[in-house]
Assembly symmetry: C2
């Protein structure tokens, strides 16, 4: 059906895993399945818009081949799905739906690391009828966060405890050994997603039985401070919709449920400057004559004042402290450097500046930090469990992001191919048949949460 590098064996002897999307997050996944597959008789087909990226990922893997792949090429999509035993979609989240539809049509199991959308959820009956599983949210956040939380929640419930609070935070950060800037941050994943984080709408959660809403322009001001033993102080801002996780986690009546994103202390206050100014906006382009500098860019969000410097105006406008000003200075926000973009959105201008500074160098390592808090009532006592993980990447390619997104996906793929996991429908990894074996095996790779429990 397609040219194969496996001429010495017949197709039937292999199981074919087709991986669509070979970006940063796919590196560990492909490495794991490629190496494991040499003993298991798996063949990998790795496709990406950029064929060179796909090719780089399969270097040294004798059982893997790369190809150029465009999800909008319907014939190519059908051919790939039809030829696969299992499909893994690592494409941008909006693209999963068309792959999933083909998987239902050709009765092929599929795994994604992304949030299940209402559109995907609506395919549950069709997936069951086709006898396949559409396993979503199988990465780190969402993914490991669900699995590790459900393990503890099920443990509390099995003891007879009543959960009254659940908070969960995850962050993709720079490892301490590579942390060399005042933001304690580098772009270890998609820069645009970082710039636009939270911009999609109002954050929603529940606290002590009260619904709480935080609009985007207040998101980075209403933060939660979190100390993780041995790793210092972090701060969390609320994720878009925590409310729907009441149903997902089986905690319909819980008084407090809050999910968020972690940054190192001080980050949010400085990031909020960009939000307050309006620099994360994507809805218009700035028309200028090509000579506009970053300093002009900042000034365009400040009132006219012939007496004060741009720095002073900004400091006064947003009542900024020295540390925040130092972070902005370090970014080069006040430089008289020409932007060099034409008709760009504010967000694109900001991203360009940040990309020049928050560089994830070849010698850098990233880390994934996860923290859960569970409060529960048991035998007239109030108890808390804190669970946390600080996982540092192996190197710049087999990064913490790549490991924690890719390994759970890979382990789930292994379970499906071996028949160990035999389920159908549109699923999340929130049941013990999925999370228990995967969490156990992730531990062997150093990916696990440490727990401590105490009375409140």
């Amino acid at each position: 059906m397609y040219p194969s590098i496996f001429g010495h064996k017949t197709e039937q002897e292999f199981m074919t895993i087709t991986i669509l999307g070979a970006g940063r997050s796919s590196a560990s996944l492909i490495r794991y399945l490629g190496e494991k597959g040499q003993h298991k008789g798996w063949k990998l087909r790795v496709g990406d818009m950029d064929e060179a990226t796909a090719a780089r990922r399969v270097v040294g893997l004798g059982n893997a081949e790369s190809f150029a792949f465009n999800v909008n090429d319907q014939m190519a999509l059908e051919r790939e799905v039809k030829g696969a035993d299992l499909v893994i979609s690592m494409l941008p989240a909006v693209m999963h739906i068309s792959v999933i539809k083909e998987c239902i049509k050709y009765k092929k199991n599929i795994i994604t690391p992304s949030y299940v959308t209402p559109e995907i959820k609506a395919l549950d009956a069709a997936a069951r009828e086709a006898g396949i599983v559409v396993l979503n949210e199988m990465g780190v956040d969402p993914g490991i966060d669900h699995m590790s939380a459900m393990e503890i929640l099920d443990k509390i419930k099995s003891r007879g405890g009543r959960v009254t609070r659940f908070e969960s935070f995850t962050g993709g950060l720079i490892a301490p050994e590579s942390d060399d800037n005042p933001w304690h941050y580098k772009f270890t994943w998609n820069p645009r997603n970082v710039v636009m984080a939270g911009a999609g709408g109002t954050a929603m959660f529940i606290q002590e039985g009260q619904l709480k809403y935080i609009p985007y322009h207040r998101l980075f001001q209403r933060i939660r401070e979190i100390d993780i033993e041995g790793s210092g102080r972090f701060e969390g801002y609320a994720n878009r919709d925590s409310l729907k996780y009441r149903e997902v986690y089986g905690l319909d009546d819980i008084p407090t449920l809050y999910r968020g994103t972690l940054r190192k202390a001080g980050f949010c206050k400085a990031w909020d400057v960009f939000v307050q100014l309006g620099m994360t906006d994507e809805s218009y382009t700035i028309n200028y004559d090509g000579t506009m500098t970053y300093r002009d860019f900042v000034n365009s969000y400040l009132s006219y004042d012939p007496e004060k410097s741009v720095e002073q105006k900004l400091r006064d406008y947003l009542d900024l402290d020295d540390q925040t000003m130092a972070r902005l200075e370090w970014i080069g926000l006040f430089e008289k450097e020409t932007i060099g973009l034409t008709n760009a959105t504010p967000a694109a201008i900001l991203q360009k500046k940040l990309e020049g500074k928050w560089v994830f160098n070849d010698s850098d390592k990233d880390m994934i930090v996860m923290w859960h808090l569970f409060r529960y009532e048991l035998s007239n006592e109030t108890r808390e469990i804190q669970a946390s993980m600080v996982y540092v990447g192996r190197d710049n390619v087999l990064s913490a992001m790549s490991d924690t997104v890719g390994l759970p996906v890979a382990l789930a793929a292994e379970m499906i191919l071996s028949g160990e996991l035999n389920v159908t429908g549109v699923l999340l990894p929130i049941t013990p048949n999925i999370y228990a074996p995967i969490l156990e095996r992730l531990k062997e790779h150093g990916i696990y949460l440490g727990e401590k429990e105490y009375r409140v």
Copy 2:
């Protein structure tokens, strides 16, 4: 073609003016054209989604008839346009485009009081080819603001002056004799438009040669204070896009151009509370059990604190003064009154509360306030002209809004029907052949701007 009440004359003896949309802003327009038409031989057809509204508008006008009209009924639209000598669209702005397309098809002149959109502008060549005029922005704002500004700008230019600053503000407010609440505001026009004012995006203008952008969440904080002799202190917030008016007004190189909306002093600070909390959001609905009160609604935007009252939390969060708190108390924002809406957006909940308070009573009068500032250089002198208008409505129906929107439209209609104005294409009232006669005739109705000029 349609049933007519004018059986005693043949169709040919009449000119038919078809007015689509009979809301608040159409009252004065219909009255004027109806009364004038009795001598001029005009017949009016007035259509509205709500036939009763249309019927109410034609009461006492022997030459006018009302009908139920739905712009999405393509056959009805074609029939009405085909039977008209002139079409006036007073429909919601988004609906004009389909009416305009029919007018081009059937070669009928059309007037609207709304902003010309890029889509409408693109029909310029087609309108010229059809030999018709599509006359837009013929109301008050946009409309009288353009006409009065262009008259002064043309005067300055004819003297050889160089304009360096143009600021223009308009507001639809409550008349002093009906101003009986601490906001000095009532809903004298569409409440939803008031609630969503500015929410569409970032405001843009130019000041001393520097592009300036104000995001929505800062719009009501960055205000311009304006004193109008005899009427007290007002404040203005920036309109969406002032930049495009550089071209419209022929002021391409002007260092300062700013257009905005006027409110009475103190309004913006209190309105900003709603914006800061996130209550003007239309992007999600609040799920609650039907017992949620306005107090709960406010609390859902404030951090949890078991010690403080909702009032105290709000005051601390936004650093509010007594006057602003008094305005919020007056609105009833802290009342333990059930909202009584299910799955409503925050903006709809807020609007419901405001509609119960900012009632434009039958005995109330409104007013339109307009203020322009022109600065220019002439013979090495810097001069300023301030022009302002405070126009109070005749009554609750023939309101200032209805008069200032409807009379310029009516006067333009008269000029087109009589042949006095014989132009084609998609136009704004920015040339003397349009603005000069209309401004002169508006003066007879008490609608004009007083001017004063001085050296700076």
